[in-house]
């Protein structure tokens, strides 16, 4: 059985590609045959974050147009046996993706035995983003604790409810998960940042996880190695928890409180930190 999972957000730069790379890597590392597809046509980012950019020959659009076979376009990861990447095209042609074409590619991937198919959505709520979500069985809505990101996530939830295959066929709705990223508990404690409870209450979908703001993420993307591959950082551990929860395990949420408090904040910041 295969699952198509869209990683989407509306707002740009909130961590979709980072999340796609880490979830796909984390799940594949457990032995599931997994592919991450970059739908960000024109930009192409996922291959960089996953460190396979030098091996890109063909891409999603080539495969859709029949200029390459799917087998030729898909890149096998060097570190994880069961992990594959299908890069985005850098074409400027806005109509390069078609629903028909994407549907065919997904069918082929299912037939090839892929258990998890992650679709890394482009930013926005236009055609490209709708294409990435159209065939999804589940959706991970990546949100930052910030007004415009929460607002866009809410719009995306509306689209998932209306403009997808499951919605159009009247099938069971797409299962949605909230993934809050770039969370800074210290700033939440000071009242400068929305708390995860607030975002949860506003969006009203189940919380898959909270990924802390972490310098390890930038370092990982510099190196082209998803952060989960070096589980020492808090962001890596948070993503690994997310992988387990996504697969149905119960895991307590971590990294929700700021780490050690300084001397002054312990004296003066008590009520703010517990609020």
């Amino acid at each position: 059985m295969s699952k198509v999972v869209v990683v989407t957000s509306g707002k740009g730069g909130v961590g979709k590609t980072t999340t796609t790379a880490n979830l796909a890597s984390g799940i594949a590392a457990l032995g599931y045959k997994t592919i991450a597809i970059d739908f960000d046509v024109g930009l192409r980012n996922l291959d960089l974050v996953m460190g396979c950019e030098r091996r890109v020959v063909y891409d999603l659009v080539n495969a859709i147009r029949g200029e390459a076979t799917l087998r030729q376009a898909v890149i096998k990861d060097k570190r994880i046996e069961t992990l594959y990447v299908l890069p985005a095209s850098q074409t400027r042609d806005k109509d390069a993706l078609t629903l028909d074409g994407v549907g065919r590619i997904l069918d082929e991937l299912r037939a090839a035995g892929f258990e998890y198919i992650f679709c890394d959505s482009p930013a926005g709520i236009e055609w490209g983003a709708q294409m990435a979500m159209y065939f999804a069985d589940e959706a991970i809505v990546v949100t930052n604790p910030e007004v415009s990101s929460v607002r866009d996530s809410d719009r995306v939830l509306g689209l998932l409810d209306a403009k997808t295959r499951r919605a159009e066929l009247g099938e069971e709705a797409i299962k949605t998960h909230l993934l809050l990223t770039r969370y800074a508990p210290a700033r939440v404690a000071k009242g400068e940042m929305l708390a995860y409870q607030d975002v949860l209450e506003l969006l009203g979908i189940p919380l898959l996880g909270v990924i802390p703001e972490s310098t390890a993420v930038l370092q990982a993307s510099n190196a082209g190695t998803p952060v989960v591959l070096d589980p020492t950082s808090d962001a890596a551990q948070a993503y690994l928890d997310v992988v387990q929860r996504f697969l149905g395990e119960e895991r307590p949420h971590r990294f929700l409180e700021s780490a050690k408090k300084g001397f002054f904040s312990r004296i003066f910041g008590g009520q703010a930190a517990t609020a």
């Binding site: 007004v147 607002r151 809410d154 939440v188 708390a195 703010a272």
Partner: protein, 104 residues
């Protein structure tokens, strides 16, 4: 921590502001995606009551619509005055972040 921080703490936190703004934004946009706001029938009834104080009109001579145009909602009110069919009174109220005139 300075003495100023101590005073600042009594002001609303920016995260609280963010949450309050979002509650309004999200409520408003959910209406959009589901179509028309649920207050439309009541609005129509009440408008009818007000207008009928001055003019004889029927319910079906008042139409109230909400339309999206680009980034803003336009609430359009159309009243056809009966008898002499003197005129149609039209009003459009738009909303969005900025003043109506600049909005559409």
């Amino acid at each position: 921590m300075s003495i100023m921080d101590y005073f600042r703490r009594t002001q609303p936190k920016s995260a609280t502001l963010a949450k309050e703004r979002l509650q309004i934004i999200v409520a408003r946009e959910r209406v959009r995606t589901t179509g028309e706001p649920d207050y439309l029938p009541r609005l129509k009834q009440e408008l009818l009551q007000v207008i009928s104080k001055y003019e004889r009109i029927d319910l079906d001579q008042v139409s109230v619509n909400v339309e999206r145009s680009g980034d803003c909602d336009v609430l359009e009110l159309n009243v056809v005055l009966s008898e002499s069919e003197r005129a149609a009174v039209r009003a459009a109220v738009s909303r969005g972040g900025a003043p109506a005139s600049r909005n559409c």
